[in-house]
């Protein structure tokens, strides 16, 4: 077990290094000057001085220095927002995204799982169709539409919540709900599919033959097995939700990490691009590992085969 864990951690570090190298190559090869802002051209001398200051005048030293910094968890200065370091930017925005993402995933589980189970149990009934309808809405309507619609209805007309922003409890529900919609849909579909399979398996027939109540059969015996595909989806889904959604953040004015993925790339902010990509990859790898650990807790068959 310990050996397996060590191997996984080692593999994770190698993956991070590869991700770093690939991103680095892309960052230094795209055209565009990170230091220029607006319509004014930058004098060549000023550009050279800045490149020297950020050690960008030599790609090899920049690669090595940034990597050394990243190993010490210091991602250096942000180029576009020169008053802030990448660490400060991530420290201020990652907790926001994590809170929102975690809430969204929890909502998605609380709604998506029962929706999927009901759909499987009442297969091809109106209940199933209703679930399917919600799922299709969740998957096919992009969050910038649902978000804007929710904002207009609940904030502008009904005035139940403040219009965007961050800082109080009332700022939370709408972005969290909007962010959870696609996850609800996926979780419900996954649960329904694997639940249908499970309900046909032998051990369920045995459980029913034993005379167990249908409720116990479904919610205790069947769901435990049917939950496994959902669990493996939860790893990447949580990583994705917790590192921020550009769209939801933009619509609701949430100061999360998602906006920096897009803006850093648009601004050619090499330091911040690398920092955000590394943070996202690290969270993704860590959560996948966590999911695999949870697997062995839920499914005894997998124990030892990490």
């Amino acid at each position: 077990m310990i050996l397996a864990l060590t191997r996984r951690i080692f593999a994770g570090i190698v993956t991070l290094l590869l991700v770093y190298t690939a991103t680095f190559v892309m960052v230094v090869s795209i055209p565009g000057n990170p230091f220029q802002s607006g319509d004014r051209n930058m004098p060549r001398e000023a550009q050279q001085a800045l490149r020297a200051r950020y050690h960008m005048d030599n790609n090899w030293t920049f690669y090595a220095e940034y990597l050394t910094g990243a190993i010490h968890l210091d991602f250096g200065p942000a180029f576009t927002y020169s008053d802030w370091t990448c660490n400060q930017i991530i420290a201020s925005s990652l907790p926001v995204s994590m809170l929102l993402g975690l809430l969204a995933i929890l909502i998605a589980l609380l709604v998506g799982l029962p929706l999927g189970v009901l759909g499987a149990v009442h297969r091809d009934n109106p209940i199933d169709f209703l679930g399917l309808f919600i799922v299709i809405l969740g998957i096919s309507i992009p969050t910038f539409v649902t978000g804007t619609a929710a904002l207009t209805l609940f904030c502008v007309y009904l005035k139940w919540f403040p219009v965007g922003g961050w800082g109080t409890l009332r700022h939370l529900p709408l972005p969290a709900l909007t962010l959870s919609l696609p996850f609800i849909a996926y979780i419900a579909r996954l649960t329904r599919g694997s639940m249908i399979d499970t309900l046909h398996s032998d051990f369920i027939r045995t459980a029913r033959a034993k005379g167990l109540a249908e409720r116990t059969v479904i919610w205790k015996h069947a769901l435990r097995v049917a939950f496994l595909p959902v669990l493996s989806y939860l790893g990447p889904a949580t990583a994705q939700a917790m590192t921020g959604s550009f769209v939801v953040e933009k619509v609701f004015g949430v100061p999360g990490l998602g906006q920096h993925f897009v803006n850093a790339a648009l601004n050619r902010d090499a330091g911040l691009i690398l920092a955000t990509v590394l943070v996202f990859s690290a969270v993704l790898i860590a959560l996948n590992l966590l999911v695999d650990l949870l697997y062995s807790v839920i499914d005894p068959r997998i124990r030892g085969a990490l």
Partner: protein
């Protein structure tokens, strides 16, 4: 098990919400506004965005400032007007005896020299350093020397000659005071600043209100980066810990940002909010009605409009939304009196590539002024400005916007005349539009509509094949700067209240001359204007120079003079729409 999972989920949810609700939230500020693109930097020397300038000029105060209604220069930290020598070359400013920093220190002339010097140092890499080097005697020579030393250091570093580099840094550090003494800035005493100009500058008092000319408190020196005990970094640059703009940064005896304006920075959280509070030492602090100002950041302008509609925000600027034309219509028909259009000192235009023979392998026909003129004549600006863009802009027939700069009336450029355009093309050796080959028009994603309208017009009237190249803004900027285009969209925002802020862009050696236009006659006229002391004769020379551009040589095609849309709640008093979009909050009052 599943039940446990649900219990855990719900418990986690509640715990998260509980934790979140405990976080502290201050009460609403007296006045709230939205800064559309957020703060890029609060270092006044490094600023290049209007949104940043606006915050800086409420936090700091220069020697002069602009009247919010007329935008003419008025007194600020120095008594107004200063003493000006008869030849217009020496300005003597007397700093007010009641000018104080937010920590109670008096504002001195040394604070100004510190700020201006920082702005021209290569280590600061200020976009607007040229405002100082172009005007103040000896500044350009000092910067040139500094750049040479930095280059030497860089060469030594790349050869890894560390000993030579160390001695070069020491030598440079030793020479620094002597070299800087040659710059035309003198401080005979703590309250007097004498400025020597290179040439007379009729708009110098307008410049001294600009963010690049703000003073910096001496506490910043505690954060100077030093190598070998010199005031230089290992790269030979003069640089400071960039954290100095934070109100709560305490390090090596530095106690957070100190400013000398009506407000000081109370709190600043990245991409969320900056709170300004009244500077208790400001001379008129007791008369300022809005004691706290919140500057919010919304990534999405539409969300900020909704927040304004819901009453969470009192004031919005730069409403650049896809439905701006709808808002402009509401404002112009008087249905929304809180929406106001400000004519701004900005021009949207097209650059013709006047220099390169070929672009991307194809022959560039725009080297010939007749072709540039033909395209200008074949552009129906009335249609573009009023029907295609419809965002409240004005038709541009000149580079400098009319009736905004006092004492200058720009010449009337070429109008819409298809017949003349076609005959000019024939004269240039292109009997039909086809003969030109494919003409490339380079635009950003924001100006696709403009590009499509132009392409359609030229195709119809001149019979040319136009290919629209749409590029993301950074790629676009790079291609524009290296002149990899035939026609490229341009936009220019005035830096100061004088026609030269536009006209200098087309001078031969200017770094913003994207079209590569070069005419010795034009350069000569700009040089003559520089030495002309009579304002009327000067304006006449500049008018002739501009006429050369918009009537004869046509290196650029002016399209529109921009307008910005702002929204002010009716209960907000003391905010005036003006062409510089300069909104001092000290005169604002909120009567809800």
């Amino acid at each position: 098990m599943i039940r446990n999972l649900f219990v855990i989920c719900v418990a986690l949810c509640l715990a998260l919400l509980g934790f979140f609700s405990l976080t502290h939230r201050e009460p609403r500020a007296d006045f709230t506004y939205v800064n559309p693109s957020g703060i890029h930097t609060l270092d006044p020397a490094r600023m290049s965005w209007l949104q940043d300038f606006r915050v800086a000029l409420n936090l700091w105060e220069g020697l002069t400032t602009w009247d919010p209604q007329t935008t003419k220069p008025i007194g600020a930290a120095a008594y107004f007007p200063p003493e000006i020598s008869d030849d217009g070359l020496v300005y003597t400013f007397h700093i007010r005896s009641d000018a104080y920093w937010s920590n109670g220190d008096p504002v001195t002339s040394h604070d100004f020299v510190r700020g201006w010097r920082r702005a021209i140092e290569p280590g600061t890499s200020a976009d607007y350093a040229f405002l100082i080097t172009d005007h103040i005697a000896g500044a350009a020579q000092y910067v040139q020397w500094r750049q040479e030393t930095v280059r030497t250091m860089s060469a030594l570093r790349s050869k890894e000659q560390n000993d030579a580099m160390d001695s070069a840094i020491r030598a440079c550090a030793n020479q620094l005071p002597k070299r800087f003494n040659r710059v035309g800035l003198q401080t005979p005493d703590d309250k007097t600043l004498v400025v020597h100009l290179k040439t007379p500058c009729p708009y110098f008092l307008d410049l001294t209100a600009f963010a690049t000319f703000l003073p910096i408190h001496r506490s910043i020196e505690r954060l100077q980066l030093r190598y070998l005990g010199t005031p230089l970094t290992r790269e030979g640059l003069i640089a400071f810990d960039p954290q100095w703009t934070k109100p709560d940064f305490h390090h090596k005896g530095y106690n957070g940002l100190v400013t000398n304006g009506p407000y000081m920075l109370g709190d600043w959280s990245f991409k969320q909010r900056a709170r300004l509070v009244v500077n208790p030492y400001f001379r008129e602090a007791d008369h300022i009605r809005c004691r706290t100002i919140d500057m919010l950041e919304y990534e999405n302008v539409s969300a900020s409009i909704m927040a304004y509609e819901a009453g969470d925000v009192d004031f919005l600027t730069d409403l650049n939304v896809p439905y701006k034309h709808e808002l402009v219509r509401l404002a112009q028909t008087g249905r929304r009196t809180d929406l106001k259009l400000c004519k701004v000192l900005a021009t949207q235009f097209l650059n013709f590539n006047c220099q390169s023979d070929t672009v991307g392998g194809a022959k560039n026909p725009f080297k010939d002024p007749r072709v540039r003129k033909a395209f200008t004549l074949a552009t129906d600006r009335n249609r573009i400005v009023h029907h295609v863009l419809a965002s409240g802009d004005r038709i541009a027939h000149s580079f400098v916007p009319p009736d905004v700069i006092a004492g200058y009336t720009p010449p009337q450029g070429l109008g819409y005349d298809v017949d003349r355009a076609q005959s000019l093309l024939r004269q240039a050796g292109y009997p039909s539009g086809d003969a030109l080959g494919t003409v490339e028009l380079l635009v950003t994603a924001h100006s696709v509509r403009l590009g499509e309208a132009l392409a359609g017009m030229w195709q119809r009237d001149l019979g040319v094949r136009v290919e629209l190249r749409v590029q993301e803004s950074k790629t676009f900027a790079q291609n524009k700067a290296i002149r990899n285009f035939m026609i490229a969209r341009g936009n220019w925002y005035a830096d100061y209240n004088d026609p030269t802020t536009f006209l200098d862009c087309l001078a031969t050696a200017n770094g913003n001359n994207d079209s590569g236009y070069s005419n010795p006659r034009y350069d000569k006229m700009l040089a003559d204007a520089r030495t002309e002391s009579d304002p009327q004769r000067r304006a006449e020379i500049l008018r002739k120079a501009e006429a050369l551009i918009v009537k004869t040589d046509c290196p650029i095609l002016p399209v529109s003079h921009s307008s910005e849309l702002i929204a002010i709640k009716p209960y907000v008093k003391g905010l005036y729409p003006n062409p510089r979009l300069w909104f001092p909050f000290r005169s604002v009052s909120v009567e809800r």
